[in-house]
Symmetry: C2
Subunit: 588 residues, 2 copies
């Protein structure tokens, strides 16, 4: 079984030294979230993840969730762990104190998301979707609904789901068939089938609050006729207690490649009682409130799984002896630790430089997200929203894809042992493999980025982003100059690619579409490079206070700039060859 040590030191470094967003620091309610408080939280978080949650990963993989006589049973140990998990208040970390939450900003809760992803992604999903549903209800529902449902969800006694996908519609929700028929009391009867519903049913909570998109009888076709409904597994009485079972049954659960402890359900809604949330026919945009935040969390999942893969690879590389390093002159059979081999070291540094860069980017994004949600100035809020929108598909896709690269490299370091179940390394790979798929496949993210996020009604967002990075390049700092010079090469490339892309969006949508995945990566690699630059700035400035830590940062960044950033080049060259030859191809 893999071991795990939560990277608290790196997280606290970010929290203390890189909380540099002026607008974020103006948000009153977070002023009392001191580094000391965060340290306490992260120390406790580390304990529960390392001790209680981590063993659930293997348990869930070996004893997947099952559907027995219509009831979904989670793997052994899940119930007990979940009870402790909610008792200690971990579901409520980032929730509104008004409903019993602890009101922590995403700059803190994102660290917890990472740790929980490292420990057990399958277990995490049970509370993650609750928070998604919480966010959506919190944003869009009436006070009556909020008061009725949110406290129990924050407490973790009730969980939540997002019911979007149907057999014929995944990416393209306009095709949905689930119907909502209005009743005389203003409620709706919901009928239809939803598939791939994470935590759709299980035995961890007393009730499950489904957020369901459906089409009201008199609504138009396509995405413009979709409304959002709250549909509880058990009807909730006026006094908040649980009443009869609603018309929802679990048709089946999916047998999956990984995250086997997570119940992925087919849910059949048969005239289930539902309550409309927000205005009619605006369901999709409401659902996206939750989808967007959720997509960032999927990126963080990739980061968390990468971290535990890296940690275990490093441990193994320091234990396993095989082959001679270049320094070994011994003529007999003595072998060196594999960490002495350049290629293994390169692979480990590749992991580390990506992981720490991602974590820094994520921290930057968490500050932006909080500004977008909580700043008092509308313009500042809007600008932050645009940055978050731009980076959401990038973080979701790039981190999940790089999670595949890193878990795969971990398997390679383990060799044959990595392919067997005993070590638990191949499980990391299988568990992470859902992240490039769910919450919108990575290709869908790339298309969303290119066609909806680069330029919007507020202007040329990508241009603002590039200008912001350029503005932040500290060219007079001699320590940084070689890094700045390297990053500039790729910022220029990103800029050129962006201009090309904006032109193609107008003149040849297929060119833009075919180039979108490459473009997303180019933007992502530059964004991580930019985050590294911020880390470097602090590292040189504060060097004497923590020499070993900062030296490690500087050398890790150096690897990123030397060996990871140049990936931009091939993406750019390949993507800008157009698409005519692709569109003309006859697939016989």
């Amino acid at each position: 079984m893999p071991t795990y040590n939560a990277p608290v030191e790196d997280m606290l470094f970010l929290y203390e030294k890189l909380r540099d967003n002026k607008n974020y620091n103006e948000i009153d309610k977070y002023k009392e979230v001191t580094t000391d408080l965060v340290k306490n939280i992260l120390d406790e978080a580390a304990k529960i993840n390392q001790n209680l949650i981590l063993p659930l990963a293997k348990a869930g993989d070996e004893n997947p969730t099952v559907l027995e006589n219509g009831v979904v049973r989670t793997p052994p140990g899940y119930k007990e762990a979940y009870k402790k998990f909610i008792e200690d208040g971990w579901t409520s970390l980032s929730c509104d104190p008004k409903y019993g939450g602890q009101g922590m900003p995403k700059t803190v809760s994102a660290f917890f998301d990472e740790m929980l992803s490292s420990a057990s992604l399958a277990f995490k999903l049970y509370s993650e979707l609750t928070l998604g549903a919480y966010n959506c209800i919190h944003h869009h529902a009436t006070d009556e609904i909020k008061n009725k449902y949110l406290p129990k969800m924050v407490e973790g006694k009730w969980s939540g789901t997002m019911c979007l996908t149907e057999p014929v519609c995944g990416t393209d929700l306009g095709l949905l068939k689930t119907k909502a028929v209005e009743q005389s009391d203003g409620t709706y009867k919901i009928t239809g089938q939803k598939i791939f519903i994470t935590s759709g049913d299980h035995d961890l909570t007393e009730n499950i609050i489904h957020l369901v998109i459906a089409r009201a009888s008199d609504s138009p076709n396509g995405t413009k006729g979709i409304s959002l409904f709250l549909v509880p597994k058990f009807i909730v009485k006026e006094d908040g207690s649980i009443d009869t079972r609603n018309g929802i049954s679990t048709g089946s659960i999916e047998t999956k490649m990984g995250i086997k402890g997570s119940a992925t359900c087919v849910l059949n809604f048969d005239e289930a009682k539902g309550y409309m949330i927000g205005p009619k026919n605006k369901g999709l945009s409401q659902m996206f409130t939750m989808m967007n935040l959720e997509r960032i969390v999927v990126g963080i999942q990739g980061l968390g799984i990468s971290e535990i893969a890296y940690q275990n690879s490093l441990i193994y590389a320091k234990e396993r002896k095989q082959g001679k390093s270049t320094k070994n002159q011994s003529p007999n059979g003595n072998a060196d630790l594999i960490i002495e081999h350049a290629d293994i070291r390169k692979t480990l540094l590749n992991m580390k430089s990506i992981i720490e860069g991602e974590r820094a980017l994520c921290f930057w994004l968490s500050q932006q997200t909080e500004v977008s949600l909580n700043h008092s100035d509308h313009k500042i809020k809007q600008d932050a929203t645009d940055m978050v929108s731009l980076m959401t598909p990038v973080v979701k896709s790039l981190f999940s894809d790089l999670g595949m690269e890193i878990t795969s490299d971990a398997m390679q370091i383990y060799g044959g042992y990595g392919y067997t179940k005993d070590q638990g390394i191949e499980q990391l790979y299988r568990d992470n493999r859902i992240t490039p798929i769910y919450e919108g496949t990575n290709s869908v993210q790339a298309i969303d980025l290119v066609f909806r996020k680069l330029v919007n009604q507020n202007g040329d967002i990508i241009d603002k982003y590039i200008s912001m990075i350029r503005g932040d390049l500290n060219k007079n700092n001699k320590d940084l100059s070689s890094f700045v010079a390297k990053l500039e090469i790729y910022i220029d490339k990103l800029s050129k690619f962006s201009t090309w892309m904006k032109d193609k969006i107008k003149t040849s949508k297929d060119d833009a579409n075919a180039a979108s995945n490459d473009y997303l990566r180019v933007l992502g690699y530059v964004a991580i490079g930019y985050s590294w630059l911020k880390v470097l700035e602090v590292s040189y400035k504060d060097y004497s206070n923590n020499k070993d830590f900062y030296e490690d940062k500087i050398q890790t960044a150096n690897f990123y700039f030397n060996r990871v950033l140049p990936r931009v080049e091939s993406h750019y060259l390949s993507a800008t060859t157009g698409s005519k030859y692709i569109m003309d191809f006859k697939f016989n």
Copy 2:
């Protein structure tokens, strides 16, 4: 369950039009292997793979091989299928007619290897290792041994294994601990533990012939004291009939991520009777006779799994409707087939251009392999051997890695359905995941390429290879000129990278080591490009005889040159940054 149609047309195209190696065509015994004969073989091969073998893939994944009371049981259906498989003579395809084989060249048997890999890799491994052992015995054993063991192996009644790995030694065989003690009758008693032994035990054959490397009592440490032994599961009497059980027991079988129908065994040798093969202390080089051929087959496995992943992705993309293409102006919810989307088309063409390029490269390599084994001229033979040596690690690593890319892309095309077990797509991904690991991890291949294959006692092999490609570039052919121009850019890059590498091998081994994986890919992408160029030459020349087929080839090649070849750029940029910063890094 995935469907499969063997790509017989493409294979016959290669066999008929690209059998262009003059030296190969001089080998007498293959002159009667006409295209018609090969067509008959491939048609039959397609049938057995599509109908009999393909269903075994799912059966084996759902009912893995088990060890019960010391006996290994293969999955349901394996026994019956194996019986038919050997009755129809498929194990004997490429074997020497002297021992009952059909004497087909690798230019034919490699196609069969590909088909069988597409249909079920786990099932394939039972006969594949037999052929590995066959080759090794055929090359190195005495006539007595050959006459005693080979006919039954060729017939498929007995199978074979390669027993190399031990708990402490995988890559580094010099560390092996298995002992061989000579007996008065000239036989040896073998004692030790071997792990990760593919087909180490099973119920498909009457006997299993293990080829075991071990250290004789008086042999030196390290790789120079390794000898090779034939150790049968059951002792074979003088008359060829089966006698008592030898001292070999199955300790356990591995629970793996994929290829679950294949028995991966821990074998305990306890004074098992063994017969030395070839000269004492030369066991490693003898084993490598079989390892090298086997490594090419691992590359072909990656190709085969890629092919079936592509075929099913294409089918799905033509059935699944989701989202609107850029041509769709319909304002209501109508969706298009996903094959209308540029990004999906790009992904499919990426797969296809890699697969067909790999197949062409493989066909080129099969001819070289036959020349290296069977040509009458020593110098020609040696030159071919050098080319095969150079390309072996490239084919093994690049094809297996690209197999991961392609099966992963297939999952993305299937979306959520790709992650569930029902479709069988995720199984392709898991099954292929062993290919970058076994027969030497891909990093080990890269190091082998760089330190042993570029330059050897026969001269500068990589230089000969590059000169050969350059010599073949038909610059006066107008049809080809744009392709030639693109390939030249990357040949130049390969040449520059090779010069850098040869210098670093002398001056900084760590630089070379850290760059080796990138170098392997650069060489591989150029080699596939070169193979495409040969395909293109025929396609233009013969265009009017099969317009649709050749147009498809030309357009697919065009994709490869536009979108795949540019990957070279980033590998080169990243790899040539040296390794000092990597070697100096403190992994605390």
